[in-house]
Subunit: 433 residues, 2 copies
């Protein structure tokens, strides 16, 4: 049974806090195995990749080559039906447009002391996108990870993906074509992350690795972090819907189940101001679960991690939202902007009754790679800045150095760094400090 809470209950705070703190992500500790795989790839390069490909995916990449050729990509992509292809094109265009607006500004100015200073943004040279195999190979994720890098101006956008039994996923290949990605390698797991981070004869190293993956992939990314950049670790999906009783319970139930169907440890939570409406949504969920194709996944998710929470008034929802810091926040209420303005922590907010979260998974435009498990307290969804970096600039002339230099000399000496002090004072007139 999903949790059912009412803010007027005596034990509400304790039960709510227990729900927020419950760990849904029982990730296996595979760090020893992963460290061995990384060491093996660093030592033996392509040979290690071929061996692991043969073992895990039954793929003879030593013969086929690690690089997936453009003709292989093209051939697989032709299997996608025109309607789906058109939908992918719609998604790609909207994602491009949204991310293009995020281009940051450079700044270079002269301050009152005559110092010129500022910063500039440049794209990364090369990024690697990990695309999972099997059931989690989503073309929408390919677009969401690759397009911000492309829009940022990254020269090399590289994709690695496992190809179990040598099969290519046509939808993924079509998404790669739409995103303009041409450098694609058949290799998955921790070995793909190792190859991207350290390079092999066939796979030149990249500067940053993004994209979802299983515990081996996530652990490998953690271990190579620092040598290359990585994105934020992503946990199971979650949705928090704030809805009043003017909604159709079936709509809200569908929204809750759209996350529950992702993963048995996904979490779907409703906050409403009407206990009777909460019950109606619960009933609608049960009804939809009885017919939905992925009921085998959505049912345990809802039973174990679902929650129906009733509060005195909708504005009481704001602190509860912040405590959860949800990946997805849906506000199906009369004045969603007013409540959104009271909320501080959420990865993405979906405003109003006609904005189901799933619209953001595909075609709205904003990225669907979002902070999970409360990380919205400190992290942002994937965006253009993840594929760029900032360099600061300073230029003093003789006059401006004379103005600000003496303070630097004083601080360097106070810190016991006389070499620092000398590098400034040597440029100042005698007697200036």
């Amino acid at each position: 049974m999903p949790v059912s809470l009412n803010a007027s209950d005596k034990d509400f705070t304790a039960r709510f806090n227990a729900m927020v703190k419950a760990k849904r992500d029982a990730e296996a500790d595979v760090s020893t195995v992963v460290a061995q795989i990384i060491a093996d790839v660093r030592k033996r390069g392509d040979a290690a990749l071929h061996e692991l490909n043969a073992k895990f995916d039954h793929v003879d990449s030593a013969t086929l080559g690690l690089r997936i050729s453009q003709s292989e990509i093209d051939t697989a992509a032709t299997q996608v039906d025109p309607q789906t292809l058109a939908a992918l094109e719609t998604a790609a265009a909207r994602i491009r447009d949204f991310h293009a607006r995020q281009r940051p500004s450079d700044d270079f100015y002269t301050d009152a002391q005559g110092v010129k200073l500022g910063h500039r943004w440049t794209p990364l040279d090369a990024v690697g996108l990990y695309v999972p195999g099997g059931k989690a190979a989503y073309p929408s994720s390919v677009l969401m990870n690759a397009l911000p890098a492309v829009v940022a101006g990254v020269r090399r956008v590289v994709v690695t993906l496992p190809t179990p039994n040598g099969e290519l996923n046509p939808l993924v290949m079509a998404a790669l074509k739409l995103a303009g990605v041409t450098e694609v390698y058949r290799v998955g797991g921790a070995q793909a992350v190792a190859a991207l981070a350290y390079g092999t004869d066939s796979i030149p190293a990249v500067d940053k690795i993004t994209g979802p993956g299983n515990s081996f992939v996530v652990t490998a990314k953690r271990l190579v972090f620092g040598h290359v950049g990585i994105d934020n670790p992503a946990g199971p999906s979650e949705i928090l819907v704030v809805a009043d009783n003017k909604n159709d319970p079936a709509w809200i139930a569908a929204d809750l189940l759209s996350q529950a169907e992702h993963d048995e440890v996904a979490q779907s939570v409703l906050i409403t101001d009407d206990a009777a409406f909460a019950e109606k949504v619960g009933a609608a969920v049960r009804q939809q679960l009885s017919t939905m194709p992925r009921s085998n996944i959505a049912t345990p998710s809802w039973e174990k991690f679902g929650a129906l929470i009733t509060v005195g008034q909708l504005s009481d929802a704001a602190p509860l939202v912040d405590a959860i810091a949800p990946e997805h926040l849906e506000l199906a209420i009369d004045d969603p902007q007013a409540l959104a303005n009271k909320v501080r922590h959420a990865g993405a907010i979906f405003l109003g009754r006609h904005t189901p979260e799933a619209i953001g998974d595909y075609v709205a435009g904003p990225n669907h790679v979002l902070p999970t498990a409360g990380a919205a307290r400190f992290a942002s969804g994937l965006n253009l800045l993840d594929f760029m970096k900032r360099t600061t600039l300073v230029q003093c002339d003789e006059a401006s150095l004379q103005k600000i230099g003496p303070a630097a000399v004083a601080l360097a000496n106070a810190e016991g760094l006389q070499g620092h002090a000398l590098s400034v004072s040597i440029r100042l007139p005698r007697g200036a400090v």
Copy 2:
């Protein structure tokens, strides 16, 4: 002896690449010990902190309390002389001004399909700044870490620092006062990171941890990453100076040594277009090393990791700079902007003959917390955005959902996520998909 390379040498590329790849950071693997400390702090909270404080710092925090009182801070800060305090004030004002210009813009617009969308930035609620003890307790680092958080609007800026034998560093206390930080705890090492990440009775948890530290602190930050945010791992400092023969060799030598004095594994590199000038700088370095106070640190750094590189012409320096991706790049040449425009990777660039790198360590304004060890390929120096996060916003109405909804339904069905599809199609007119 420092490396001396000339681009006209046959083995130049091999020797240059060897220099770039040389690992300067022999960090001990302390992850087992650190994991135990974190587990202990999570389990026993304040009691564990008191025990470790007594053991390592000979501080009785059980009696004193973990919180350092405002009167303790004030009393220690009064020991700072007026000239140093004025210099700290100059630094603080300039750092504030520079970071205030970085405030990002929100965006909310209506697109051609009638979808309203955009993003907004909000500050983090609480960040913890780790301040090292002993020789590495630099007031400038306190300002560089704390002020961007304060300017971003972070409500709780918390500092932890070790107090060996109970002593407070007056300069650090003065810097904390200038930054407006009032929540300060006496605890260092991995236990401080654990307390900040998970909270204890005395130290409420924060959302992100920044600041430099030894291998225990760095390892602890890695281990708590994901539960809280962390900054980029920082390695030993490094400077790359590009200089022509119109410079005074003594000035350039001083700049090289200003980094060498940081750490025995710091790295200082000169690139010039005149082999004779390189020799003069080498001689000036030897001369300055013979008199500088921190010669015991700067000499092994220069001997082991220093390099003098001669290229055919200054524009040849650009690809070498990018290969190194230096933390600090100084361009002491006639047209520094022209070369800066050719460089892609550097943490901070210092333009012209009157801009020694050390000016940026203290008073220029840009942050001195910068990516090291080649991380400038993918990372930025600390800035305002490190203390803020972005939430995306989407709002459809009935009409706009009808326009973009069918593509979402098509993609959800193609991915086998019929629950996603239903949450959109249930809001569309019958027959729309």
